[in-house]
């Protein structure tokens, strides 16, 4: 069951530093939502606040409301661990576990939570996840080898496989393709298309074509000025964003003319 996410008046802080200000949006269930915007405008920060990863950083906090399927994410009664089991994440930089083999990395979400499963079941999860991340053919003969021995792009696909292996309801992807070649990128995009029928997907990207290709809705974040907090400039259906956006600054950014 996929989930929709309602964000209202969200302010995100690192200590006293207000990084993102006043975000309102609705992320629809079973759709792909893309975030675009210049570097440092708070896309990653906002994404991390959606599965309570933001508070992992000392001093980081969030004001405002995020409601996932009727449940307020930042309610004191909510267990962040349970949230993260439902809302998975792929990070900007690949981060496979160095002590684990490729096989164990894919199963990390299950194994680390001590979920018991049969060997055959585990094998099929590994194969399915690695195929999903377009990595199966490259690693099927060396599943027992360390995950750190893969190339950067392969590591990133391993991290994607690891995230989808636990079948989260929502998948947050922070520039998942920034280290990938065009073939893997298109495999990931295909995967996103497939997953979208069951999951809610949120993706940050610097690649306009990618945003246009894969997403249903697009949010454009920007900084008012250097040192100012980032904010959501426009949130609209992707088709409209890329044909006639409401805001002139969106059009300027998308077409490559700034300011």
């Amino acid at each position: 069951m996929a989930k929709s996410i309602d964000v209202s008046d969200l302010n995100i802080y690192y200590g006293d530093f207000l990084a993102v200000e006043g975000v309102n949006m609705t992320i629809k269930a079973r759709s792909v939502t893309a975030f675009i915007g210049p570097s440092g405008c708070g896309k990653s920060t906002f994404l991390r606040s959606l599965n309570r990863m933001h508070e992992v950083i000392p001093g980081a906090r969030v004001e405002g409301k995020i409601v996932v399927d009727g449940q307020s994410l930042y309610d004191p009664a909510i267990d962040p661990v349970a949230v993260r089991r439902q809302i998975g994440m792929v990070f900007q930089r690949p981060n496979p576990f160095p002590t684990m083999s490729i096989y164990d990395n894919v199963l990390a979400g299950n194994r680390l939570n001590s979920k018991r499963m049969k060997k055959s079941e585990a094998d099929s999860i590994v194969e399915k996840s690695l195929r999903g991340a377009n990595l199966w053919n490259e690693v099927k003969d060396r599943l027992g080898k360390p995950g750190m021995g893969l190339s950067g792009g392969q590591q990133q696909r391993l991290c994607i496989a690891r995230a989808i292996a636990v079948e989260p309801q929502v998948l947050l992807m922070d520039e998942p393709c920034s280290a990938l070649d065009p073939i893997s990128t298109s495999a990931i995009e295909d995967l996103i298309h497939e997953l979208k029928s069951e999951y809610t997907i949120v993706i940050v990207t610097h690649n306009m074509q990618q945003a246009a290709r894969v997403s249903d809705d697009t949010g454009f974040f920007n900084l008012k000025a250097a040192g100012q907090p980032g904010h959501l400039v426009e949130f609209n259906a992707t088709k409209k964003m890329f044909s006639n956006p409401d805001e002139p600054s969106t059009e300027a950014y998308i077409s490559g003319r700034f300011g």
């Binding site: 599965n51 990863m53 992992v56 993260r84 576990f97 002590t99 979400g109 001590s114 750190m148 995230a163």
Partner: protein, 355 residues
């Protein structure tokens, strides 16, 4: 707008000339070293003192090699040669005491060591009768092992608190400060503290291996905390986040991701801490006492340890006593080496692997 001009493209010959540099032959540093050693030997024969010849030789080398290099290779290479020579020199100077010490211990100790020396105790051994260090060896192993059993959990858990939970709050900074202070405690003070503790708790004549272990763990804990802390801090934050993002609770993240990643380093740190205390004499002399025979119960009776054995035998001021002291010293050194080798092997086995 800009006043930059396109740089003139150098011709192929200009490029060639700018990259190639005359170099000294590869054997230059070593060859010159040999020549200088020969010169120093000559000086020694001529009656200049040992220190004088070595100093003159080193100085000559440090002047000759850079000068030669400056003439042939230019000033940058000359500075490089000078600094390289200085670094090698510092390395050699640092190695001298180490090799010397090892050699002395082997030279004086190896003739004493034999099967009897390793398996006999000293009870009823008088005059020239064959005695041994068996009791001291057992004592050292038991006391050190007990000290490790006490300090490793305390040290590792403290480090986990400071790095994973403390996050620079007051308490964790206080702990770090206290640990730093503890690092500087003189070992004799630790011994006196353990003595006072057990005198208060048990009875004034209480001596045991366990009291020695407590004293040693006072010295070990700060080292274990410090090294474990460093190792835990080396684990990238990315890995913790990757684990949290999979819905893994914090304690599982620590036990299954952070600790395994840092395991090799933690083991090395623990072994270094053990090596540091295994040769402690003063506290053991005070609280574990001196004994002639094997005692395998750490909780009662005096217990002999290798350093105390060495101290005691040397204090006898007999030829046999001195020989036994050196024999014991050599065994102690070998023990520490063995420990370090073991730590390396364990560290290698558990280190995160690539490829």
């Amino acid at each position: 707008m800009s006043t930059l001009q396109a740089p003139q493209a150098p011709g192929p010959s200009a490029l060639h000339a700018s990259l190639a540099r005359p170099r000294l032959p590869r054997w230059a540093p070593a060859g010159l070293g040999l020549i200088v050693i020969g010169l120093a030997a000559l000086l020694l024969v001529l009656g200049v003192g040992f220190g004088g010849s070595v100093a003159l030789g080193a100085l000559t080398y440090l002047v000759l090699l850079p000068t030669w290099s400056a003439v042939v290779e230019g000033s940058r290479a000359a500075v490089d040669r000078l600094v390289t020579s200085l670094v090698w020199g510092a390395f050699a100077v640092a190695m001298i005491p180490l090799v010397w010490l090892l050699w002395t211990a082997i030279d004086r100790g190896s003739s004493t060591i034999n099967l009897e020396f390793l398996t006999f105790e000293m009870r009823n051994v008088i005059g020239d009768m064959q005695g041994g260090i068996y009791h001291a060896l057992i004592g050292t192993l038991l006391v050190t092992l007990t000290a490790a059993v006490i300090s490793v959990p305390i040290g590792v858990f403290t480090a986990i608190y400071v790095v994973e939970y403390g996050k620079k709050n007051r308490l964790s900074r206080l702990v770090t400060f206290l640990v730093d202070v503890m690092t500087g405690i003189p070992s004799i003070v630790a011994g006196l503290f353990a003595l006072a503790l057990f005198v208060l708790l048990v009875d004034p004549a209480y001596r045991s291996g366990f009291a020695g272990s407590v004293a040693l763990s006072l010295l070990m804990i700060p080292t274990v905390v410090r090294s474990t802390e460093e190792m835990l801090r080396l684990v990238p934050e990315d890995l913790r986040e990757a684990s949290y993002a999979l819905g893994v609770p914090k304690w599982r993240t620590i036990t299954k991701v952070v600790l395994p990643t840092a395991f090799g380093g933690i083991v090395t740190g623990v072994v270094l801490a053990v090596s540091r205390v295994i040769g402690e004499t003063a506290p053991l002399l005070i609280v574990a006492g001196v004994a002639d025979s094997v005692n395998t119960n750490v909780f009662s009776e005096r217990m002999q340890t290798l350093p105390v054995f060495i101290y005691y035998q040397y204090g006898l001021a007999t030829d046999k006593g001195r020989a036994y002291a050196w024999g014991g010293a050599l065994v102690l050194i070998l023990l520490v080496m063995l420990l370090n080798l073991g730590a390396r092997v364990i560290g290698r086995i558990f280190a995160p692997k690539k490829g």
